[in-house]
């Protein structure tokens, strides 16, 4: 049955040529149904009003975040006894960055006991040789590849500390990270996240990501933390209460975004997560569009998976602002983005058919194709709402730079403009591909 429609899509293959996808009949049916529903919506009210409606939802979300940011009150954290800490560094074929990472991990200042465990997940490169040369770390060498979650669980099992810190092998935390993050792990708090930033900022793709990380881990994370609504404990570096982590059963080895899943599970079990925007953690980001695309599709599919798994939290007042606002609205926004593409296609299907008949008919009587190009290009005034959304983002970028103590120089204008204008389009493609792959149940790619 499933092999009825068994064809490869050239469009997506060109995006990820190494990845072969099989379209299942269910996928086609669901897509056509959505397209039909959206088509009638666009016919009933105009395409532009639908777009304005989406923009207004986005404006609402952004203004809530802005008001929530102004409501944040500074808190003080002091600690007398420093609990013992175990740092778990999972590694899989990360030989390029491993030495630098371990060096940074060793340099982390901490007043209490500090233990470093590096778990190698059956690397096939020179990682093992490098690791054996480094002193002062505890090594766990897995023969078989288990995936990151499995490796982290091995590290947790071997850890002796009261606090577990996970650090990716391509991440370089600043020396004062631990001393800043650990005091926030008070009774009742189960995890602390930091300000994740891009370490490699040479290329333009990285520069745009630098801005994105600044906004999402600066401004947005700060607000989310204040609302007790963090949705992810970032993989690059997070601090967990070891007892709590063991109680809830460690990381989920079946999940592709285990750092998001653990955050949902911590919340489900009544744990609280806070963020420390003073702790700057630098991590390697993808250097080309294709890797970035694959990474984001994985993130989005992880989000999709976790949304289904923890759908009881959607619009659930028991989970406070997270259940009522941030989680459902982030899902709504992602669905809107996917719908937006459908709308764009559905709204233009009729025009497209019309245009093709016109062109075909025109070519039989004339060969002057030039006249088919419209004489005057002009913008619809509904673009105003898009500009308003862009203004909100400009404000967020400004506050994120304040949080990061970074200078907001004019040199950053190109990447900021591109981030505001073009990154959304990129995300639309990511969400669409992720959505497509998810309902198609395609294999997961890292």
């Amino acid at each position: 049955m499933l092999l009825l429609v068994d064809c490869k899509t050239s469009v997506f293959n060109s995006l990820e040529s190494y990845f072969f996808m099989h379209i299942r009949p269910r996928t086609v049916i669901i897509f056509l149904l959505i397209l039909a529903v959206v088509f009638f919506c666009v016919k009933l009210i105009s395409l532009y009003w639908v777009v304005i409606f989406f923009n207004v939802i986005l404006l609402f979300i952004n203004s809530v975040f802005l008001f929530a940011y102004f409501e944040i009150k500074p808190k003080e954290h002091k600690l007398k006894n420093w609990p013992s800490v175990t740092i778990v560094v999972p590694n899989y074929n990360g030989a390029n960055n491993l030495v630098k990472c371990i060096e940074y991990v060793k340099n982390l200042e901490y007043a209490g006991k500090k233990e470093i465990i590096v778990v190698d997940d059956g690397s096939t490169d020179s990682s093992r040789k490098i690791l054996k040369r480094i002193s002062g770390i505890k090594l766990i060498l897995n023969k078989k590849n288990k995936g990151k979650a499995g490796v982290l669980n091995d590290g947790i099992a071997a850890a002796k500390g009261e606090i577990i810190v996970t650090i990716d092998s391509d991440t370089y935390p600043e020396p004062d990270c631990l001393t800043k993050m650990v005091p926030l792990l008070k009774p009742g708090v189960s995890a602390v996240t930091g300000f994740v930033r891009a370490s490699n900022t040479n290329g333009f793709v990285e520069k745009i990501q630098e801005i994105e990380y600044l906004v999402s881990f600066g401004f947005f994370q700060k607000v989310l933390s204040d609302l007790n609504a963090l949705m992810v404990t970032p993989g690059p570096m997070s601090v967990y209460d070891a007892k709590f982590l063991r109680k809830i059963g460690g990381f989920d080895e079946k999940n592709i975004t285990e750092d998001m899943e653990i955050a949902f599970r911590i919340r489900e079990n009544g744990g609280k997560m806070v963020t420390c925007t003073e702790a700057h953690i630098f991590t390697e980001v993808p250097t080309n569009i294709r890797h970035l695309f694959t990474q984001r599709v994985r993130w989005y599919r992880g989000k999709f998976m976790n949304t289904l798994k923890y759908n009881k939290m959607l619009f659930n007042p028991k989970y406070g602002d997270f259940g009522v606002f941030t989680f459902p609205f982030s899902v709504i926004m992602e669905w809107c983005v996917v719908l937006f593409l459908f709308i764009f296609v559905a709204g233009n299907i009729e025009n497209l058919f019309y245009y093709f008949t016109l062109v075909a008919s025109f070519l039989t009587v004339s060969n002057n194709i030039q006249v088919l190009v419209p004489a005057l290009f002009s913008l619809n005034s509904s673009i105003l709402f898009y500009v308003m959304g862009a203004c909100f983002y400009a404000i967020f970028i400004y506050y994120s730079h304040l949080l990061a103590n970074d200078k907001l120089s004019i040199k950053k204008l190109p990447e900021i403009t591109l981030f505001i204008m073009v990154f959304g389009v990129f995300l639309v493609l990511v969400f669409f591909t992720g959505f497509f792959k998810e309902i198609n149940k395609s294999d997961y790619v890292w």
């Binding site: 404006l59 203004s63 008001f67 409501e71 016109l358 060969n367 509904s382 709402f385």
Partner: protein, 212 residues
């Protein structure tokens, strides 16, 4: 202390209202611009009509013919991009009404056609060749759009031509009268120098009709 959600709803509503009223402002001013341009050429062609009146009183056809041919050329020049401007405005605006500028444009168009015919009849030596193109106003007709594009293409190649798009069955009585005069039964129809072409006609056929 007001809840942040209420504040946000308040701010969003204000932004929505500002956005919608700004859109309204931009759209109406855009329509107004096109409308003004059309108004000017319409007044201009009305002023030219006074020439005809003057001629019927004083029978001074020499000076009238001279001025008339100059005025026709300048009118054709002024109305060159007006229709495409009007059409793109009509397609893009979400507020405001383009019916009145559209009607004004059509009236001006007919006046220009009649002036050209008058000049050809009385003065001669007018280089402009009027091309009449009939289409139904309230029907979807893909062939008509194709025919319009073909005429655009011909006009691009031959600057002597001036196409008069005549919607049949609307509030333009002269268009209906012309349709009856040329006994139009099918759309699209093109009339060049008294010759009637019914249905979709290719570029080459029209070109040979003009050159002969």
């Amino acid at each position: 202390m007001v809840n942040k959600y209420i504040k946000a709803i308040f701010l969003t509503s204000i932004l929505f209202l500002i956005g919608v009223s700004l859109m309204n402002f931009f759209d109406t001013s855009r329509i107004e611009n096109v409308s003004n341009e059309i108004e000017i050429v319409l007044l201009d062609s009305e002023a030219i009509q006074q020439l005809i009146f003057y001629e019927s009183i004083f029978e001074d056809s020499d000076s009238v013919c001279k001025i008339l041919s100059n005025r026709i050329d300048s009118q054709i020049e002024k109305t060159r991009t007006l229709l495409s401007e009007l059409e793109s405005t009509n397609a893009q605006v979400m507020f405001g009404d383009t019916r009145i500028p559209k009607l004004k444009y059509r009236i001006q168009n007919i006046q220009l056609y009649l002036l050209i015919e008058k000049a050809r009849k009385d003065c001669g030596g007018i280089s402009v060749i009027p091309v009449l193109y009939f289409f139904p106003e309230n029907e979807l007709c893909v062939d008509c759009v194709v025919q319009a594009k073909v005429l655009d293409s011909i006009v691009q190649q031959n600057s002597k031509l001036r196409v008069f798009a005549l919607p049949v069955g609307t509030d333009i009585p002269v268009a209906d009268a012309l349709a009856i005069k040329h006994s139009i039964s099918k759309y699209p129809s093109v009339v060049i120098e008294g010759k009637l072409f019914e249905g979709l006609v290719s570029e080459e056929v029209l070109k040979s009709a003009i050159s002969s």
